[in-house]
Structures are given as structure tokens and as C-alpha cells.
């Protein structure tokens, strides 16, 4: 493993978004992963529609909450193409699902994986390197007040409530940490990112880890 790795350095991570007053973090994390893996495959990096996932992923509750795994299962079963954000913009509320013809350009997924990497965070780092940014679900209650630094306390494993995207890690300092892209705008945390201690399954970051294949 390298001491430091961040998919942002490869220019395959879209900018931090803002979910506003919408509990759609699960959709932001999934769409972020699809955008990045598509770009890693050599396609142009493009913002894809989060609103499409919020409106159309019927096994979830849109802005009232959902699960990344359900969204991935839906994307995988239906082979729905995610269209560009500009085609189906975010409006921070539930809406009716818009359907597009099969000739419409977009990105569909081929498969996904979901594993528990607790006690295996080095393996999780290898998965990040080989598969792309990873969707994780964490306990983010104390993130309400986070300004910066490495999160090491005040959160638990087994109490996940918020979906985010891990884009990299840094093991060069005394406290290795994961780089975690959030969806609360770039004024939150470290330019929209949280740094979460690597090792010890801090905030349950390794409990439920998903990757997409495009």
C-alpha cells in the first residue's frame, strides 16, 4: 500500500455537493461512486443526477432516507442509466420519477459489491485502490459540529446513520486517516471532507463498504 492515496489527485472525483434539507445522503454517495468509477474507466468526469436516484429508487424513501445498498441493488437489477445532473437537476425534495428512452446517454452499473471490512482496514484500502472510491455508512451524529482534524472519538460502530464516499487515505502522519467526501457543501469540515481515523473501525466506517462496477 502507498502511504498516501487520493482519487482526487487523479481528477476522477466530482466536486462536493450539498444535499440541503434532504436526507438523501444515500443517493449522493452512490452517484458519487458511479461518477468516479466511470471516470476511472476513461470516460469524462461528469456530475450525474442524484435527483433521478431519489425519485426513482422505489425501495428507498427519497429525501426521507434510504440505503445505499438498496439503491445499488435497484441500479443493478434495472440497469437504469443515470443521466447528467443538468438533465435532471437536484431540487432537494421528492418528486415523480422521470423516465428516459434507452437512447438517452447515461451511465449504468454492471455490478456492485458490499462487504464488512471491520478489523481489515488495510484490505479496505486495497479495495479502494483497485475498485475506486467506496460507499460507506457511518455514525455521523457528532459530525454536526465538526470543523477539521482527524475524527477519533464521539462516534460508534454499529450505529450507522449517514452515507458518504471514501476517496482516499493518508498514513504519512502519526494518525492515519481516511478522506471522506460528505454531501453537506464545501463549507463544512475540510472543504466538504471529513478525516476519519484509520484502524479501529472509527464511526463504523468499515462495517458496510460498497463498491460499484461500471
Amino acid at each position: 500500500l502507498p502511504l498516501r492515496f487520493d482519487w482526487r489527485d487523479k481528477h476522477v472525483v466530482t466536486k462536493v455537493r450539498n444535499q440541503q434539507v434532504c436526507g438523501g445522503c444515500w443517493a449522493f454517495s452512490v452517484v458519487g461512486a458511479v461518477e468516479s468509477v466511470n471516470a476511472i474507466q476513461g470516460e469524462p468526469l461528469e456530475d450525474l443526477s442524484v435527483q433521478q436516484v431519489i425519485d426513482c429508487s422505489f425501495s428507498n424513501y427519497g429525501c426521507r432516507g434510504g440505503s445505499p445498498l438498496s439503491a445499488l441493488s435497484w441500479l443493478n437489477k434495472t440497469h437504469v442509466k443515470l443521466v447528467a445532473e443538468s438533465e435532471y437537476p437536484f431540487k432537494a425534495e421528492n418528486g415523480l420519477c422521470h423516465y428516459f428512452s434507452s437512447s438517452e446517454s447515461g451511465v449504468s452499473i454492471k455490478n456492485y459489491s458490499a462487504y464488512d471490512f471491520s478489523d481489515q482496514e488495510d484490505e479496505m484500502a486495497r479495495a479502494l485502490l483497485s475498485l475506486g472510491p467506496l460507499i460507506v455508512v457511518v455514525d455521523a451524529v457528532s459530525w454536526q459540529d465538526y470543523l477539521g482534524g482527524i475524527i477519533q472519538h464521539h462516534c460508534s460502530s454499529g450505529e450507522a446513520n449517514h452515507a458518504v464516499l471514501v476517496t482516499g487515505f493518508d498514513k504519512t502522519g502519526n494518525t492515519p486517516y481516511w478522506m471522506v467526501r460528505n454531501s453537506w457543501g464545501d463549507s463544512w469540515g475540510v472543504d466538504g471532507y471529513a478525516h476519519v481515523k484509520m484502524g479501529g473501525n472509527t464511526c463504523g466506517i468499515a462495517d458496510s463498504v460498497s463498491a460499484v462496477f461500471v
Binding site: 479495495a127 457528532s142 454536526q144 459540529d145 470543523l147 482527524i150 464521539h154 463549507s187 462495517d207
Partner: protein
């Protein structure tokens, strides 16, 4: 109700300041996270949870470590 009243927002903000003191009391080195006023400081924690923490947990199988072999079902 959303948005909260000014009075409710002010009460949540005062509670946030107390919470920041507690959260920052665990800082033993410079790299440790620090907590303070941000865009969510006017929300009570239960409001914050309801509005922003919208993901359910899901259980996944343990990642199979390389070299792991299954054990035969023998007596």
C-alpha cells in the same frame, strides 16, 4: 417544523456551544478533530439527525481475506 423559529434556533445555538466545549475536551494532540460553530449550530441534535442523517445501516458479509480456506464439516 422547518425552518425553526429564531428563539428555537438561539436555544439550539447555546446548547451547541456547551457541546463544543465537551467535544473539544478530548483533544490531546493537534491532529485530533476539533468542533465548533458551523452551519448546523442552530439545530438541536434531534433536528440535525432528522434532516441530515438519512441512511439506514445494512449488514454485509465479512470480506474474505486472501489465503482463507474453508474448513471441512468433519466431526
Amino acid at each position: 417544523t422547518w425552518p425553526p423559529s429564531r428563539e428555537r434556533g438561539a436555544a439550539a445555538f447555546r446548547e451547541s456551544l456547551n457541546r463544543h466545549r465537551y467535544l473539544n475536551s478530548f483533544r490531546h494532540e493537534n491532529s485530533t478533530a476539533f468542533y465548533g460553530i458551523n452551519q448546523f449550530s442552530y439545530l438541536f441534535p434531534e433536528e440535525f439527525k432528522a434532516l441530515y442523517l438519512g441512511s439506514k445501516t445494512f449488514r454485509s458479509p465479512r470480506y474474505p481475506t486472501k489465503g482463507q480456506t474453508s474448513i471441512l464439516n468433519v466431526s
